[in-house]
Every structure is written in C-alpha cells, then in structure tokens.
C-alpha cells in the first residue's frame, strides 16, 4: 500500500512536468515580480527636478544651489523667476521650486545666532504624488540646511534600512503572495480538474483513502514551492541585497509552514469549487484581494480603517509578512516572532483540518 502512495506522487509529478506552460509560469512569476517590485516599482524618490528662484545670487545662495546640484537625488534645472513657478510645476518640467529670500544671507545668519527671523527659504512642490512630495521635502530640507543645520533639534537615524530601499519592504510581501498563487491556486485547480474530467470518480472507487490522494497531490506542489522559495531567497539576497539578518534558516522554516498553509487553502478551495474556472476565480478573487489589500503588503495595516484592521487579523499572509519582515530586515530571530509563528501554525491546523473533513469520499 505504501507502493501506491509513491505511484500517486509520481503520477502527480508527471502531470506537472508535462504541463510545460504552467511550469514556466510558476517559475517566471516570482522572478518577474521580484524584479518588478525590486527595481521598477519603488516608493523611493529619485531624480527630483528642482528649479530655484533667487532675486539676489549671493554666495550663500550659490553654495546652497551647488549642494543641491551635486546631490544624486536631485537634478538642478536652473534659475527661474517668480511668475514662471506655477507654469513650470504644472508642465512637469520641475517637481519642486526653491525660493530664496532676497536677504537670504542675513536671515540665515540671524537664524544661526538664535535671533527670531522670518523664513529664508520657501519650498514649492508638486504634491500630485503625495509620496514623492513628502520625501522630496525631507531631502530638500536636509540638503539646503547643510552646514547651517548644526543647531537642528533632531538627529534622525534610520535603522535596518537606512537608505529606505523599498525592495526590502516588498520582498516579504511578494513571498506572501507568490506562495498563495503557486500552492493554493495550483493544488485547487489540479484537484478540481480530476473532478471535472471524471478521474476522481475512478479514484474514489478504489481502496485508496481520500487523505492519501490529497497528500500525494500536495507533495509535488510542495517540492516546486520549495524550489521557488529558494529562488526567491537567492534573488532577494544577491540581486536586491536584502540583508536577511535574522538568519536564513528561520526565514526558510517559517516559509515552509506558510507553504503548508497555502496548500491547505488550495485544498479547501477544491472542496468548494466544482469547476477549474471556479477554483481559479475563488483563488484569485477571494484570496488575492485580501492579501493585496489587507496583509500590509502594499498599505500599512495601521492606515486601514478600524473595521479592515480587524478583518486583516484573519488574513494569514499578514502574519507571515510581518514575521518575514522582522527576520529579513530587522534581524529578529524566529524566537522573537513566536507570536506570528503560533498564529500561522494554528491557522494551518484549522484550515487543513476543515478541508480534510470537508473532502468527501463520495460524489455529494
């Protein structure tokens, strides 16, 4: 009887290997997503186009503009006058305009010596993209104050991701998404396909018990997912330079738990769906949307309305992403994210239990 379990695994692997297109997609999706989110889609602010308005180009003004122009984050587009500011911003030729006061040097001096004075610089920004405008303001202030900022009240240090690289933030999110895609969608579709084609009927009218059929199905998908996991971790480490400071072993084992959870979700979907299309739709709509919106992958959970924050507690990916972020970027060890681990483990047990119970060895 052990023999037939292996034949099941073999048969399932053959299905996957013969379906080249699906195989290709499974391997390509992670790579594309990693590269896309890692490089193309980023919330960091680069190449901010800045123009300056300076009625009196004193040494102080020139010095400040010089610093701006040398900075990698900015492109200096030259001087302009008061009246063209609006047009420049509207046309998108510049993202920000720095307006120096006519008596810039004097105002800076009085500010430096602690005397009350009016602002020396006005920043005008195109805030149609809130993220860019916010980041640009912070950068501009830092660069323009430059040497004059010794008297600043705050000293800011960005820990764990000092350059604020958005890729670091996205990698755990992508992992949370991809495994649901690969495991849940593929297992559910492959089980439902047997129902739809009619082979499930023949399988059921045999001495093999349903849980064996199911586990045999899960094993090849689990193996593929492990390969994808290794691929993602390699890409994250060597292509995107994610620190993985919490130890790869911890990240890997937590991911394995998450893989089992995703497979169980796929199994659950397969007990509900009757057709492959339905299985795809359920996996895509019912699972992907909450993962994208409520897992903290794209939007911080703290920014969600209270109601959705509560709903997000039920989204397993939220806990996975939270734990992986801590381990990948903050250097937390598995022990430090034990809460996430326990929650994920309970969810896995629950989903697996329910779907095994729901998986019928009859046709209705």
């Amino acid at each position: 009887m052990k023999n037939n379990f292996l034949s099941f695994v073999k048969k399932e692997s053959l299905h996957i290997l013969r379906d080249r297109r699906t195989m290709l997609i499974v391997v390509l999706i992670p790579i594309v997503l990693m590269v896309l989110f890692g490089f193309a889609i980023s919330t960091e602010v680069n190449d901010i186009k800045v123009a300056a308005v300076a009625p009196d180009r004193t040494d102080g003004v020139r010095d400040a503009v010089e610093r701006l122009a040398r900075n990698d984050y900015f492109t200096f587009c030259g001087y302009t006058d008061n009246r063209s500011i609006d047009a420049l911003l509207r046309s998108g030729k510049t993202d920000a305009v720095v307006v120096f006061a006519a008596d810039f040097d004097r105002r800076m001096q009085s500010a430096a010596s602690g005397l009350p004075s009016s602002p020396a610089i006005q920043l005008i920004l195109d805030a149609s993209n809130v993220n860019t405008a916010g980041a640009a303001t912070a950068y501009l202030q830092g660069v323009l104050l430059g040497a004059e900022s010794q008297q600043s009240l705050f000293e800011t240090r960005m820990l764990f991701n000092p350059q604020m690289k958005s890729a670091f933030n996205f990698v755990p999110g992508i992992m949370g998404l991809i495994f649901i895609l690969v495991c849940a969608m593929m297992t559910s579709v492959s089980i439902v396909r047997e129902k739809e084609v009619g082979t499930m009927e023949v399988l059921l009218v045999s001495p093999v018990r349903p849980f064996k059929i199911i586990f045999a199905k899960m094993i090849p998908y689990f193996a593929i997912s492990c390969c994808v996991l290794i691929l993602i971790l390699l890409l994250a480490r060597y292509l995107l330079g994610v620190p993985m400071s919490g130890g790869v072993a911890g990240i890997f084992s937590l991911s394995l738990l998450y893989l089992v959870l995703s497979l169980s979700l796929g199994l659950l979907v397969s007990t509900i769906a009757r057709t492959q299309v339905a299985a795809l739709l359920i996996s895509a709509m019912v699972m992907m949307m909450p993962i994208l919106m409520l897992s903290g992958m794209l939007f911080p959970i703290e920014n969600l309305p209270k109601f959705f924050q509560t709903v997000s507690l039920l989204v397993p990916t939220r806990w996975y992403i939270d734990a992986v972020r801590k381990m990948m970027i903050q250097g937390a060890s598995v022990v430090e994210v034990w809460q996430d681990c326990v929650i994920l483990f309970c969810m896995t047990a629950l989903v697996l239990g329910v779907s095994l119970k729901k998986f019928n060895d009859k046709l209705e």
Binding site: H15, E201, K362, E364
Partner: protein
C-alpha cells in the same frame, strides 16, 4: 447469492427523482444490460452501486456487501468505467495502466492474463499519450484499467457511446470473453441493438424499470400485431394512419413507420382507407426491443 441485489432503491437530487424504487438482481457471472435513453437514471444507479452516492431509501448489495455500510469493501472488489473517458490524457497508455494497478495495490503483470486480450490491441501504442488515442482505443485502455485488479463485478456505464460500429462490436466480444472468466458485468447502453448481446436486460426510463427479461423473451412480451408501413409522403402517412380505426400506435422507426394495431386489424382495409397516399405499402414485422420499449414507455 447474487452478485448484485437491489431492493426498492431510490435517489433524489433536489426535486428530480433520478431513481424511483428500483429493484432487481444480477446473478453471478451474468452479463446484465441496462437499456434506456439519457435521463433514465442509469448513471445514478451505477454511482449508487459503486458507492459514490448514498441512496435516499432502499438497500442494495454488491458481491454480498451493503452499499452503505460496507462501501469500502465494495470499492476494492469492483471495476468501474464511468461514462466519460476518465483516464489521464497527459499520461501514456503504459503509465495509466501502471497507475491504476498501483491504485489497487497490484502489479500490472499479475493480471496480465485477464487484461492481455484487450491490452494487446493497444500495446503497440503504449508510449502514446492516452489523450491522443482514438475513441475505440481509449475505451480498450479504460477497460484494461478497470480490470487490472481482477474485480469480481464490473460496472460499465455507456462504454460504447461515441465509439464506431466496428469497435462497438469488438467491445461486446471482449465482454463475452470476460464473462467466461466468471466476472459479473453490469453494462448500460442507449443503443437498443446492443441489448441482444446481454444475458438479461432491464429497460429503464425516467428512474423506473419498465421490465426485465432475456433479450429474446422480452420481445415476446409484445402482445399486439405490428406492421411496417411506408409511403412517399411519410409525414402525411404518420398523421393519417393515427386516425384510422384499429390503429393503437404509429411512430417513426428508421425509414418506416411502425404500426401497432388492435387484434383483428385488416391490412388491406387500411390500404383502402389511405388510397390518397402514393406508394403506400404495409407488411407485418417482428417486434424489436425498441418496439417493446416504446410500448412500455407509454404505459
């Protein structure tokens, strides 16, 4: 002990009564045919007997095991070939056979003597994907897979649907040789002409069994005179014939119309009454299973 015993078995799907208090038995080693159109409840009966469905009421046993309480025992001793092609199209002929052997915990070689006469015909294509086989070959492979564990009872749901006439005839020859080896076979078909290859047949329609008998005896139960009539305008003949006194039924039957009449019906008088139709002819015919089916269906 019978191989299959069914007592007032009923199955309902929502409002549809798929099977309504069906009872019959199939003896050991018998080749038993279920004949009926789509929607007669044949597939539902198969699924009940192969324990894929649970009945709403009634009982049944297969090989002495109850289909509800001992369903696991039944699953290891029956072979089942569903109506649709239900093998893996992306696996080769050989891989399919090996997989089904493993499914039942046997080696394909052990049952080779039983499967060989059938499998030999598709063996030259053993490296071909099952999905690329012709209809007749698919069916032979499916039968080989259903036989690989030496089942005592074989359930074949419409095995010849969508198969060419030559392959169909070959298939029935194969069933006859399996029967010789002591396997009980329950087979369903919508083709009335295949009924004569069975030991006994049950005519069924809309969840009911209309009658059970041997193919020869069942047509003897047709107790009215039967004629074949034809004319150049067949449609006009159909409506005209139905109005003639002494005609009980008139229905299209292939190229002719069959005419069921009362006793004492006079064919020559019939010709005289319909002399406005061209090329009118009438001759007595021997009833077929289809005739008895139509007769019982209208009862």
């Amino acid at each position: 002990m019978n191989a299959i015993d069914i007592q007032s078995l009923s199955k309902r799907f929502g409002r549809v009564q798929a099977l309504d208090a069906v009872s019959f038995s199939v003896g050991k080693g018998e080749l038993f045919g279920l004949i009926g159109p789509d929607g007669a409840g044949k597939t539902t009966l198969f699924r009940l007997l192969t324990t894929l469905l649970t009945p709403n009421s009634g009982t049944a046993s297969v090989d002495g095991f109850d289909i509800v309480n001992d369903y696991l025992s039944i699953r290891s001793r029956v072979g089942y070939m569903p109506g649709r092609f239900s093998l893996y199209p992306d696996l080769t002929v050989e891989e399919n056979l090996d997989f089904f052997a493993a499914l039942f915990g046997v080696r394909a070689r052990e049952s080779y003597d039983l499967v060989a006469p059938i499998y030999k015909q598709i063996e030259p294509f053993r490296k071909r994907r099952a999905g690329k086989l012709s209809g007749g070959m698919k069916q032979k492979l499916a039968l080989s897979c259903a036989l690989i564990h030496r089942p005592s009872v074989l359930f074949l749901d419409e095995p010849t649907t969508g198969v060419d006439a030559v392959s169909r005839s070959e298939f029935w020859d194969m069933l006859a040789s399996l029967q010789q080896k002591g396997i009980t076979i329950l087979v369903s078909t919508p083709y009335m002409d295949e009924a004569s290859r069975c030991d006994r047949i049950a005519l069924c329609n809309e969840g009911h069994i209309l009658g059970i008998d041997t193919p020869n005896d069942i047509v003897r139960r047709f107790d009215a005179p039967l004629y074949a009539v034809r004319a150049s305008n067949m449609y006009a003949l159909l409506s005209a014939a139905r109005r003639i006194e002494g005609v009980a039924e008139c229905y299209p039957f292939g190229e002719v119309h069959h005419l069921v009449t009362d006793r004492g019906f006079d064919p020559s008088r019939f010709l005289g009454q319909l002399n406005e139709l061209d090329d009118l002819s009438i001759e007595p015919v021997v009833p077929t299973i289809e005739d008895i089916f139509i007769k019982w269906m209208k009862r």
